[in-house]
């Protein structure tokens, strides 16, 4: 046992010296560390020591990229087709042969009766069935027009539309091939798709994910950062220091700016490597706009956090006001034009909408700074207004 444990607490001059040895007691020292840096350092320590926030920051973006990238796809490579050939002639067999060799259809079943069509669709063996009638070959020779029937499963309207379009263009080509003297329409539309010529969903979705994930990280983590200190009582201890509201608020959001940017980089790199999403623009330009976007999103998180009392309420509010609009009202998946007019108007207040325009523009189109005045101004203004409102509302006392 140590002797010291039975001694009196300390030589009484210990504490006196503490006071005496500090002549410049209340004068600010020129080497002092800004309080804001102290808050930033402390905030970083919280993040590093909390496994949950590390998971949210580093694992969640990767999981989301994989989930969204693979799961949300509108791509239809081949239409699964059932064929009911009632004709059974060389002409009908030629048609089937042509269909098989096209890249648009995959023949799943050779049907024997009309009953089998329904059966096959219910079992989801194919989404469309082509019926070649008994008089197909005969009509081809004798009449100006012969008809075939396409029955499509409309349960998935997206797939049905694609199947009909594929079939239309196939039969157009096939008709031309069979009869070269057919009258060609005087006007022909030749669509060409730019920026995402293969119409790959991932190219469309994954850049949008950057917007959603950054919004999620920024608001989820910052919305609880201030309420957590209120709940645990640590705010009370901080507030009795000479700290100012802006020092607390800026000090608290600064670490998350860096984390959100790291997330942006993770998602973009994943997009490039896993989904082959092109990056045609300037990465530094994108990073700059990410900073603007993070600024807007964090301000929203802080705005919520400075207003509510408990972490739970903060998280629910953050979800409602940020993540949900970022997914639904930003054009991430659903085009804004097809939203009801009220939601369209609300969408103008969603930062993700502006950032989506920017990131898709930079990654897919490679366009430069000049095209993004408006979204940039919006993001900066949005962030500034909310941040000022938060600082203004934030009081260094426990009232209200």
């Amino acid at each position: 046992m140590k002797n010291s444990s039975t001694d009196s607490i300390a030589p009484s001059d210990g504490i006196s010296a503490l006071h005496k040895g500090n002549a410049l007691l209340y004068q600010l020292d020129e080497f002092m560390k800004p309080r804001i840096i102290a808050i930033v350092q402390k905030e970083f320590l919280h993040i590093i020591r909390d496994p949950r926030s590390l998971v949210i920051v580093f694992l969640m973006p990767i999981i989301m990229v994989l989930l969204y990238g693979y799961a949300i796809t509108f791509d239809i490579k081949e239409i699964q087709l059932g064929i009911l050939d009632e004709n059974r002639t060389p002409a009908s067999r030629e048609l089937v042969q042509k269909l098989t060799s096209s890249n648009y259809f995959k023949i799943m079943a050779d049907l024997q009766s009309r009953n089998e069509i329904e059966e096959g669709m219910l079992q989801r063996r194919f989404v469309a069935a082509l019926v070649i009638p008994v008089d197909y070959a005969k009509k081809l020779k004798t009449e100006p027009q012969s008809q075939v029937q396409l029955i499509v499963d409309g349960a998935n309207s997206n797939t049905a539309t694609v199947a009909i379009n594929y079939a239309k263009s196939f039969f157009m080509m096939y008709s031309l091939e069979m009869n070269t003297q057919i009258l060609v329409p005087p006007l022909e539309l030749q669509p060409r798709i730019w920026y995402n010529p293969d119409m790959k969903s991932a190219h469309f979705i994954v850049p949008g994910l950057v917007a959603v994930i950054m919004m999620l990280i920024c608001t989820l983590l910052t919305s609880i950062t201030i309420t957590r200190e209120r709940e645990s009582g640590t705010m009370e201890q901080i507030l009795v220091s000479p700290i100012r509201p802006y020092e607390i608020i800026f000090g608290k959001i600064a670490p998350y700016v860096i984390l959100a940017l790291i997330d942006a980089i993770i998602v973009v790199v994943c997009a490039r490597i896993i989904f082959g999403v092109p990056f045609r623009g300037n990465p530094l330009l994108l990073l700059l706009f990410c900073v603007f976007y993070v600024y807007a999103s964090l301000s929203l998180g802080v705005f919520i956090s400075a207003r509510v009392k408990t972490q739970q309420v903060a998280m629910i509010l953050a979800q409602l006001t940020t993540t949900l609009p970022a997914i639904m009202l930003s054009g991430f998946i659903f085009p804004i034009i097809s939203l009801p007019i009220v939601l369209q108007i609300i969408s103008y207040l969603v930062p993700a909408k502006y950032f989506l325009t920017i990131i898709r523009g930079i990654m897919l189109k490679g366009i430069g700074f000049g095209y993004f005045h408006q979204p940039a101004i919006f993001l900066l203004a949005f962030g500034t207004v909310l941040l000022l409102a938060s600082v203004n509302r934030f009081k260094t006392n426990l009232e209200g």
Binding site: A10, S12, I15, F31, H46, Q237
Partner: protein, 305 residues
């Protein structure tokens, strides 16, 4: 500049509840004043108003001669406030917590490391400086909280029930530390629900329903009490107290744990036979009965009535 506290006509309500009702209190420079009262008496509210965490509805708080309302940031430079609830970061180490609070008060680096070393030694936390705060015992947590409060060498300390929930040994140790601080010239205002702790202050203020009932020195407490106080130890305290109250022969009867205190303007010689008669009829065995000097409890109970 004198580091004292003056509270004049303080009022504060929360909704319809009047928490502080025309409170007046002076704490002199260099003294340790114990603010004692039951839960809900207004102790925490008073300290929070002194530190500017709550804004008074009426009245003035002068801390170190400065008005808390209008010169709050100056006041916050020289006060140290320790909230009742443990308010440090459990995921930071002892040293990191200290460093953080030093930085909040912009103590420069060299000075900071110096003070940290001294405070850790003073509070015997040196061996734990790299331990996460969450892993400290209750007593160590309170000592760390006090250290964080002291890191900017405040001249006035406001401590809100600093030893609630702390084991008796740590409590004694903590009060020894406060004594040292007072000896070094720090003005201390400490709230406590414990009577024995209040007795360690050089003055005691009784607070109840948001009002100060009495301010006195612990040694003079008996002077405020004119009556004779008898302490009775018997086998059925509660029952005995009930009987004595029902007899209406005494000014006050209260049971404190395993004993009954009763007071009267009569002498103890007059009281003893009366008590014996009243109690023994009911088959209650009296173990001891003696005259004592009034304690803080007795005074408080009398003040409350």
């Amino acid at each position: 500049m004198t580091f004292d506290i003056k509270i004049v006509g303080l009022k504060k309500s929360f909704g319809s509840i009047l928490a502080i009702d025309d409170l007046h209190l002076d704490v002199h420079e260099g003294e340790m004043l114990g603010l004692i009262g039951p839960d809900g008496a207004g102790k925490t509210t008073t300290l929070r108003m002194l530190s500017g965490l709550l804004i008074a509805d009426e009245g003035v708080c002068l801390v170190g001669g400065k008005n808390v309302r209008s010169e709050l940031s100056a006041v916050r430079q020289f006060i140290g406030y320790m909230p009742q609830r443990f308010s440090l970061y459990p995921d930071l180490t002892v040293a990191e917590n200290l460093r953080f609070f030093a930085d909040l008060f912009q103590v420069n680096k060299e000075e900071r490391e110096n003070r940290m070393k001294r405070l850790l030694e003073f509070n015997r936390l040196s061996p734990f400086s790299n331990r996460r705060t969450a892993a400290l015992s209750g007593g160590m947590k309170q000592k760390l909280a006090l250290s964080c409060t002291l890191i900017h060498t405040p001249k006035i300390l406001l401590l809100d029930e600093p030893t609630t929930g702390v084991d008796p040994v740590s409590r004694r140790e903590f009060w020894d530390i406060l004594k040292e601080l007072r000896a070094s010239g720090v003005t201390i205002l400490v709230t406590t629900p414990y009577m024995d702790e209040a007795a360690k202050c050089n003055r005691v203020a009784f607070i109840h329903n948001g009002k100060i009932l009495l301010v006195t020195e612990p040694e003079k407490i008996a002077h405020h009490y004119k009556n004779t106080v008898l302490e009775i130890v018997c086998d059925q305290n509660v029952k005995a107290a009930k009987i004595l109250i029902a007899s209406k022969q005494f000014d006050s009867v209260h049971s404190f744990g395993d004993r009954v205190h009763l007071s009267s303007h009569q002498t103890s010689e007059q009281m003893k036979p009366m008590i014996k008669n009243l109690v023994e009829i009911e088959n209650i065995q009296i173990n001891s009965m003696k005259e004592i000097s009034a304690s803080i409890e007795d005074v408080f109970v009398e003040l409350l009535n």
